[in-house]
């Protein structure tokens, strides 16, 4: 329905990344619920933890312009890895067609998009 790439291998990789990500998130939540005994506090802590993961996940913040003291934070965020894997899996090989003032220009292989996430 969404029209993502219909290739079977890409879909398999998509599924693999999702499953791994889900297992990681579930393990983190279980760990939090073990450490914190009160259920209300536990859900609060878990929500905050997920939000921080999302913050450093790559979409809400630009990794290159982060202050140097926070440079390690994306590496601690499993959201980051999952999101990067999903996006790279999806758009690798696609070309972006940019439409400006009625002109359609091919921006070419969108390595600019993927290189945003790859720290080479």
């Amino acid at each position: 329905m969404i029209g993502l790439q219909p290739d079977f291998q890409i879909w398999l990789r998509f599924l693999l990344v999702l499953v791994l990500f889900n297992i990681t998130a579930a393990s983190c939540c279980l760990a939090i619920s073990i450490v914190v005994s009160d259920q209300g506090i536990a859900s609060l802590v878990a929500t905050l933890f997920m939000l921080f993961e999302m913050l450093f996940g790559g979409l809400l913040l630009n990794k290159k312009t982060m202050p140097p003291s926070f440079q390690l934070m994306p590496d601690l965020s499993f959201f980051n890895f999952a999101f990067e894997a999903l996006v790279v899996n999806e758009v690798a090989g696609l070309t972006m067609i940019d439409e400006n003032l009625g002109l359609k220009t091919e921006v070419g292989d969108n390595s600019n998009l993927t290189s945003r996430y790859r720290e080479l």
Binding site: I2, G3, F21, N22, I32, E90, D98, L113
Partner: protein, 279 residues
Amino acid sequence: MHAANSTVEPRNLNGNSSNSGEHAEETSPSNHVLSIKEQQEHMLYSPKSPLLLPVSLPSEQDTQREGNASRTPTEGVRTSLSITTTIKPFISSELMALIKGYEFSSISLMMSREIRAALDDSYNNATEQDLESLRNRTLWSRIEITSGFSFFQFFKPKFSRSGANWVDQFRILSGRTFKNLYRNPDLLFTHYAICVIVAVICGLLYGKVDNSVSGFQNRLGVMFFICAVFGFGCLSSMAAFAKERLIFVRERANRYYSPITYFTAKVCLSNLLIFLDCL
């Protein structure tokens, strides 16, 4: 009269002593009394060797005085410490009547017989080393030990051959966790319904993504959104641990199984559920 470290003032709801004057409850105010909660926490949370129990064992006078009344009808083996000798008498009299009624009922009698049959069975199959280790290690000397074998097999010092090995433990625990899961159909249905609904919404919102800039923004967005949905959906599995926590603590205190097996079983099954979620 009683050991000083664990007496409690009798809290009688009816205002009369529930043990009909057999024990004169006196706590000298200078002794530090452990409350029931502290006693329980001590029993549950301290690294427990099977020998140390903070509740006072019934003193000699008690057992002699109450000896005949509290023996279970099965002569010889006292298969359980009668509750009337160990629980401090703040139990109300109705409850005490119920307890005594059960103690002398036929159900209790049948159960004691079955327990004794099982004990004899396992005694006949026990090796000499088992008996030796038991004889030397149990300090609970007020229990009559017939033929050197105690009912309290839980207090074996380590998981020896008569305890379940970890594969069996894992299997049993997994079965139990799985039953807990599928006996909770609302949670499962909600999970699946949420997945379907989110998929439909994503499909309708994003439509066919094209190759323009907005298309790429859409792709990024939908990936992020799916991750967020799964990430927050995992919070629901947290409740599972919290509810079982007290049960787990009690079981671990009695060394039914080691914590690692419990944890592994639970994690695997939760992950299985979430894996089905993905599909």
